[in-house]
């Protein structure tokens, strides 16, 4: 499979997951929120500073239809994350230099240095 095809298929899958499948996700509290409720420390949670944002809570402000509102928020988030992370990675990547072009994967991987 060509790299471009893989990237496009992957992006399509991510958009469908965030824009459509997410509407069927469980709305039960996650592990941490469950424990916070059971152990009695969820009450210390304070209001979120970004709670008035246009996509706060994975809903789109101004869109009344709940499914459209949630799906749009998921798609916007996926695109924003793609652009930021992709741009960041593109910015810090190793440029192919003229003196030593090695197309194969090099041996200088930082494996295990973490």
């Amino acid at each position: 499979m060509r790299t471009r095809t893989l990237l496009l298929v992957g992006l399509l899958v991510a958009l469908v997951l965030a824009g459509v499948v997410s509407l069927y996700a469980s709305s039960e509290p996650d592990g941490l929120n469950r424990v916070a409720g059971d152990q009695g420390f969820s009450r210390t949670e304070t209001d979120h500073r970004a709670a008035d944002g246009p996509f706060a809570g994975y809903t789109t402000r101004g869109v009344d239809d709940g499914r459209l509102s949630g799906g749009l928020a998921g798609i916007v988030g996926t695109v924003v994350v793609l652009a930021l992370a992709g741009g960041l990675a593109w910015g810090v990547r190793r440029r192919a230099s003229g003196e030593s072009r090695d197309d194969s994967s090099d041996e200088r991987t930082p494996a295990g240095k973490a």
Binding site: A25, T46, L84, V92, S105
Partner: protein
């Protein structure tokens, strides 16, 4: 596992913020060795996929849900340093744009899901990979094992932070037991999703999977003769 504002005191939040800044700083340097023209787009896609998958809460019983953290997944797909950058971008966007995960808790969340999730995921993956035969087919299983470990480990790390800077008095034994219990179950979902996604990419382009490099290099080169008329197909 997104920690909201108010769970931890200011001092702990500042400390985890500093840890996150140092971690992301190191990742910006380390990622340079992992990224080139071919793999940089994969990093963007990995982050987008982790964001999307984190929206998919799956039920784990008794009115509780869990979702992918994605640390092990990102580490195996694009490498640990790049993986930490991916998770940091996801957590930043979730906090600022979607009010998911506190703003003062952003450092805490990058520490827990980014540094601990990606770091432990990569360490376990590397360790298990060394113990197993060098076969590309084992990469997804190895990634799944790493993913399984990351979720309860991140939960334990939260307990550690809460022990230091929790804003409510909570018995540590009960906190540890319940955090570990729920997140052990959520870890199974993490392992299944991570294994399936890594298997899908390995099946079509193992050369783009960072965690498959070591085992692919071990594969002996084959000399194959190609019939003259079919040569143009290969590109």
């Amino acid at each position: 596992m997104h920690v909201p504002d108010g769970f931890l005191d200011a001092g702990t939040s500042v400390a985890t913020g500093a840890v996150a800044v140092v971690g992301v700083g190191l990742a910006l340097r380390g990622a340079r060795r992992e990224l080139d023209d071919r793999t940089a787009p994969m990093a963007g896609l990995t982050a987008a996929f982790v964001f999307a998958a984190q929206m998919l809460n799956f039920p784990v019983g008794a009115g509780t849900s869990g979702h992918l953290l994605g640390g092990a997944l990102a580490a195996v797909l694009v490498g640990p340093w790049t993986g930490l950058l991916c998770l940091s971008v996801v957590l930043l966007v979730q906090s600022l744009l979607f009010a998911d995960g506190g703003v003062t808790a952003l450092g805490t969340n990058i520490t827990l899901m980014g540094i601990v999730g990606v770091g432990v995921g990569w360490l376990v993956f590397s360790l298990v990979q060394r113990l197993l035969p060098k076969r590309v087919g084992l990469v997804p299983v190895t990634a799944a094992v790493a993913a399984l470990v990351t979720v309860p480990t991140a939960a334990l790390a939260f307990v550690g932070l809460y022990a230091v800077g929790g804003q409510a008095p909570v018995p540590l034994g009960a906190l540890t037991a319940t955090m570990l219990g729920w997140h052990a179950v959520i870890g199974i979902g993490e392992a299944v999703i991570t294994g399936l996604v890594v298997a899908s990419v390995v099946a079509v382009r193992p050369d783009l999977v960072h965690g498959a490099r070591r085992v692919m290099a071990a594969r002996p080169l084959e000399v194959r003769t190609v019939p003259a008329q079919s040569r143009e197909v290969s590109s």
